[in-house]
Assembly symmetry: D3
């Protein structure tokens, strides 16, 4: 693998990248990728209930706390770069300015693959709007006439990481990634999320059970590949290969 | 790649493997795989119209002609082995005996991947019944208590090759395979199908256009991988990987 | 329109053709088609509750009563021919013999279009099995090597008529047929079904409301075609046309 | 609740009922239901790998071991009745005899609700064939002309319990059941499955995470119902209610 | 049932709540719920053809007429409260202001359940946009950081009421509500809609036929619950229960 | 056919109408229809890579070149009218002004049928947004209260023309149109697209293979209608007919 490969994760709220693809991030960083995370918001209004229950809380203080958590988690994963677009949440403002900024990031990063949320999420429209936004920005970044002279984007895969309550979102993983080698890093990142402690064991369970799915799909009862922790992803686009 | 990898194609009628995955077969043979083709029938009743229009035709003569064509096509593709199960067609007889024979073949071959038809085909119920049959036989071959002592099957991918009129079958390819290096072999195999000359240009067009899809998905307007001929496949099971 | 056009309705139980496509039958008969109905069973066990509640009822008496009703309804619709295959119901026996008989009928009739049940019906597996059976028999009837010398079948549309509780069956009509000119015949046929009087108003309501759908889709609020009664059908296969 | 309510679980292999609905069984038993489990097979060939790896194992010994495990698990859950139909597995024999026996059981039990597998399972065709079988037998049991004089079945809900790898099966739960009060019983039943110890923690994780889903859907961040363990089910049929 | 339960119906145009859930509204009011209806528009441009055909009609006069009809219908149903947001129709303006107002209403009402349109409606994009809007506002109302200090929303079910031409909208009811006790009120409300008299019998037919579906699903041929009029709803979220 | 029939094609970018429905346009023009094409943009940024690779290219020059190509192609097809809305591309600006202009065009044209893109296109969000836009404008054009006094729109079919990579878009054709009589015109129009020469043979292959599908669906092996070139379309709305 070349040292220069890059990847881009688009996370609607500050913590999404931790639960949903922290392992993929750490694993690819460790393998020499430079992974950039774009946090569209801090989840300051919608995903910070614990903070808001404190006396005298303000929006800025919530943002600061969430930013600090996310930065710490990114550090635990060894992330190359994390950007906070501060677009507001519940709902996200994904208008023309947001698109322009995101397209700039995509072109700057030139990712080998991108990652975002599920296509449908009735619990959280920010999530599905982010996916639509990611597709639109990917398209714009491919346009030769958008900021002519910049390097245009190729055709990176868009992976959809695991949502909460997968079946309600119509999300179906088609690839499982063995994250056993970096599990300790993901767990450390998870533990940075002080405000959402109720999710620590939830996503540890998920990682263990996805490990079971990895073993099943790599060999079944005949003896699959030993894997203790995994993450699942759904691909939007078909792959192109030289061998099946 | 090791020399010993194997693959198994389950083809409802004698010619299906040629149009739908001839390139994949030739490419993997060339790369050192041993590919086995199981033709469940000769397509003797349902896919031999041209022969039946001849005077004094009999079922045996049709079978012989179709077997000869299929064998010639297999040779053109460099196939390791081709088996004719002679189960009858329109409809196929996929009862207990057929299952037992197919499970034996699967266990003997121990394929790294398997291949069959689309899940739905209102034009041709033999096709979709074959896919169901393939799934059932794969399951039986994995059972430790089926013919105990034999080597049980692992968890090979089941690829669904391209049906005629893809959209009507609800078939969606998730992987494109570059068959440019073996296109001449596939075309030669196609030309063995004397009775279905009307399909020669059809499947040449398909291969060219799938080449376009390969280029698009490997790089888009920014310049994808040069590929002139491709085949598409739909995966039934998720993949397990160490890198996205 | 030529006098010789034909159509074939495959009805799992004796009464299905009345509720679900009685209008289509009467309308096409009136327009010069010769419509044949194949009743696979009398619905003697599963759809004759009212008869079975009578003292001393026997299977034969139920069959006779149901046959008489169906024949009367067919007469009311002006049907060319009705066949009772007597395959048993709940469940239907759709084995090799049944297939052979049905293929013979299809080839004899050479229908311009065929009609059967919805693809999915969790309430009544006879219905969905009949659709699968119709597709399989259609395929066999197209095979040049099945009973060589007989005239093979072309590619008639298979329409799926309206099931009970359409949404539960995943049935979606793509064509509405104006049956206003023959509504009185359909209503007369409905009234032949003495054992299922609770359905008379139900299917009258359906016909009225489908008339509303016809009006909507033929012109909307701007003034659609005046139509008081209609039936809806789902097409399995694409159409081929010279004008949109 | 009346003491006489009954329920029927149709389990393809001996252990399915434990992992997938052990909590529902124990909870309803505790609430006064009489729950009957119909094990179509012992999973003797396909789900007993650990036993088959022992020297000198025979089919009968495997069956005996699996029967003992299942019976112990049923006892741990407080099950009213468990029946072993011994239809063979991988594949199940679900022919006319099996149907007749199952219909008899359904009519005998007269369940308020039934339970079975997911509609689709490419890993295990026994599972999806069992669901189809359950629907067909339910239909037959409703027929007034099937064994006239017996009490016919009403319209019990058919719940589909949680398959392994839910997303691959297209299974979507629409109801979560709080099994916290009986979790110890379910865990005890799980531990009866000596041959599948690798699944103990897997299904404990599932129960914990479904508990999270229960909390989310009963109140979200505003404070849902405290629930530590849950099971999810997909309903085949619509409900009928007097209040939303 | 407590007297204080509340519910919220979000209706794109003035009359939608009458046809689609008038029975649910009247029934729950009668049972002690306080039901609030939010009419996003009067349907003044798109659903008032009859008025516009009068000489000298103006937008304000249409709005007044439609408001009066809706208010009369609400009164007939015994509605607790009806709000007219006057957002314009064809198309609705569902921007930031509309969201803020709707979130305020949701938080004020604190509904036990919410209700809106189908997810897809190619005939009427106002309908599907309203559903998306309802989901987004529900999410915002759950955010602790949105107008901190207000009581945040729990996790109410969102029911999708019956659209016109259900099959075209991909709408599938999973619950039927017996509205027989309040049918006269619903019919009275329907008759308030002077401008849409062509729909009176249409939705009476719907209510009768949904009554049939209620009977089928509550007992089938064995004798379901007597119900003469019903309404169907599709649930967006899973339920949480203590008994199946 | 009357001379006055009209049709309206809504094309996201300048060239879409050529590849995807050039045959339908030419055929209906030849049959006496007046076909209007509304090009929402020139595809100036996103679909003009070849031009942008030239030195000193400007947005205006690209637009001019693309407009000239599209106009030439329209002339080759014998188009009645082509309008360039110049809404910008990648992404299109489909706001209130765009809607107002499009509704005016729809009402002016009063099309017997409309045509646009597929419902889903992850590669190109302009395409799917155009379809949503077309549905919304169709709805507004039907509203009696929108610009009262104008002639309101009826209920024209909306056909979805063939996207690139049909299976990825979930597009399924339900009607095939024989374009053999106008193939030379379509090919001439295709050759006007100097900047996208790599697509000439691609869409010639498509037309040939759709011809095969036309033959299959009009008669199968028994001998379908001779057709060498065809186009496929998906209908959004059901048809209303007097004969099946």
């Amino acid at each position: 693998m070349t040292r220069n490969k890059t990847a881009l994760v688009i996370s609607a709220h500050a913590a999404d990248f931790v639960w949903r693809c922290g392992g993929a991030i750490a694993l690819h960083q460790q393998a020499g990728y430079e992974v950039t995370i774009a946090c569209l918001s801090f989840g300051e209004r919608g995903e910070s209930a614990k903070l808001w229950k404190q006396e005298g809380m303000t929006l800025e203080r919530v943002k600061d706390a969430r930013r600090a958590e996310a930065a710490a988690a990114a550090a635990a994963l060894g992330v190359h770069d994390i950007r906070f677009l501060d677009l507001g949440d519940y709902p996200l403002d994904l208008g023309a300015d947001a698109k322009a900024r995101m397209v700039d990031i995509i072109r700057e990063v030139q990712p080998a693959w991108m990652m975002s949320h599920s296509r449908w999420d009735p619990y959280n429209t920010d999530h599905m709007n982010t996916t639509q936004f990611a597709l639109e920005c990917r398209m714009i970044a491919q346009a030769w006439g958008h900021n002519p002279g910049q390097k245009v984007l190729g055709a990176p895969q868009l992976y959809l990481f695991e949502p909460h309550q997968t079946e309600q979102m119509g999300w179906k993983p088609d690839v499982f990634l063995d994250i056993t080698p970096v599990w300790e890093k993901k767990r450390a990142a998870i533990e940075c999320m002080a405000g959402q402690e109720h999710l620590w064991s939830y996503y540890t369970n998920v990682a263990e059970n996805r490990g079971n799915h990895f073993r099943r799909n790599s060999g079944g009862q005949a003896g699959g590949r030993d894997c203790r922790y995994a993450e699942g992803f759904q691909s939007v686009f078909p792959r192109t290969v030289d061998e099946l």
